[in-house]
Assembly symmetry: C2
Homo-oligomer: 175 residues x 2
DNA sequence: GCCTGTCAACTAAACGGTTGGTTGCTATGA
DNA sequence: TCATAGCAACCAACCGTTTAGTTGACAGGC
């Protein structure tokens, strides 16, 4: 057998991504996760303590991944929205994961690293506004919220496409 | 006791709105719904067949309510978005209900009346465009999707407010 | 031989759904 | 007017299944 702790954790996390994205936290079944990962249910409790522990760890990793792979570009917010949109197209499970987390946990209990990343982005946008690079029609916080919200247009409609997202943000920030 | 079929159904629907909005479909517990409604669990199965049947009926009613109470105004889309936003502020459970339904059932299985209402709105917007009343920068379908998506800004951020939604739509449709 | 990763087998609790029977309104007919 | 039959509305208790979580035994590398 494998006998590789990290490999087992990775397989569990991948299976959990599938399961939680499809069924949500309440709807997910730990037996299915273990079966998909090809290992025993007890491993989940050995490595992640609980079903919720597994979800939290998974969400932290996934958010971290997207935050790292899509850095903010304050003077190209349409491009930023487009790249976020791309990331969600490439990994639709992430959007579902986040949506379930938001529904079941509210706006509190957002992982600290994400809060920190959010703060940094607001600051970057604020600086770009001070430099006169982008519109001051919205304050920095609202601007970031709007851009992020546009990037998840695919959550609202199956007709969403990259071009629509980019053009929308262009119009939102137009002088 | 009451012994009033319609009143009992109404109490069950109100309790179900609370329960499903808070916990989602998978997370909702029929025992809790019955307890909140102050009546027996068997009534749910007598009147709505199943947990899912209860949810479907509830969603249909709630969607119908908002569709009726917020008619589209093709030549005032910012106002339309604002009034939708107001409706969600007034009844936040509706947004959560719809989000859970969307996550657990996808874009298919949308109640037929809503599909019909959506068609009518696209048509109304298309006509307003033909009349030269609003922008043709987006096609009618995209425009409606964008306006509706802006109205649920509150799903993305706790900072959302009516003015932000209205101003955003104004900019989206600016010539 | 012992630490560590593994798992089948287990449990207690919770779950959606059913059932057999009770309650109270009302229509009927004497 | 009153007895009562019929029936829709209701409910406590229960059923089989599924659930998250536990445990004690076992296997393989050092």
């Amino acid at each position: 057998m494998a006998r590789d702790k990290e490999a087992t954790k990775a397989k569990l996390l991948e299976a959990a991504l599938d399961e939680f994205a499809e069924y949500g936290i309440a709807g997910a079944r730990v037996d299915r996760i273990a079966a998909k990962a090809g290992c025993n249910k007890a491993m989940i409790y050995a490595y992640f303590d609980s079903k919720e522990g597994l979800f939290d760890e998974l969400l932290k990793i996934q958010i971290d991944r997207v935050v790292r792979s899509v850095p903010i570009t304050p003077d190209d917010l349409p491009g930023y929205a487009g790249r976020l949109f791309d990331a969600y197209q490439e990994e639709p499970r992430l959007l579902r994961l986040a949506a379930y987390h938001r529904l079941e946990n509210g706006f509190e209990s957002v992982p600290e690293p994400e809060v920190e990343a959010h703060r940094h982005k607001v600051e970057a946008i604020g600086q770009a506004q001070l430099d006169g690079k982008i519109t001051v029609a919205f304050n920095a916080t609202d601007l970031l919220d709007l851009v992020v919200h546009m990037s998840i247009l695919g959550f609202s409609t199956p007709n969403a496409n990259r071009d629509l997202v980019v053009r929308s943000v262009e119009r939102l920030i137009a002088e």
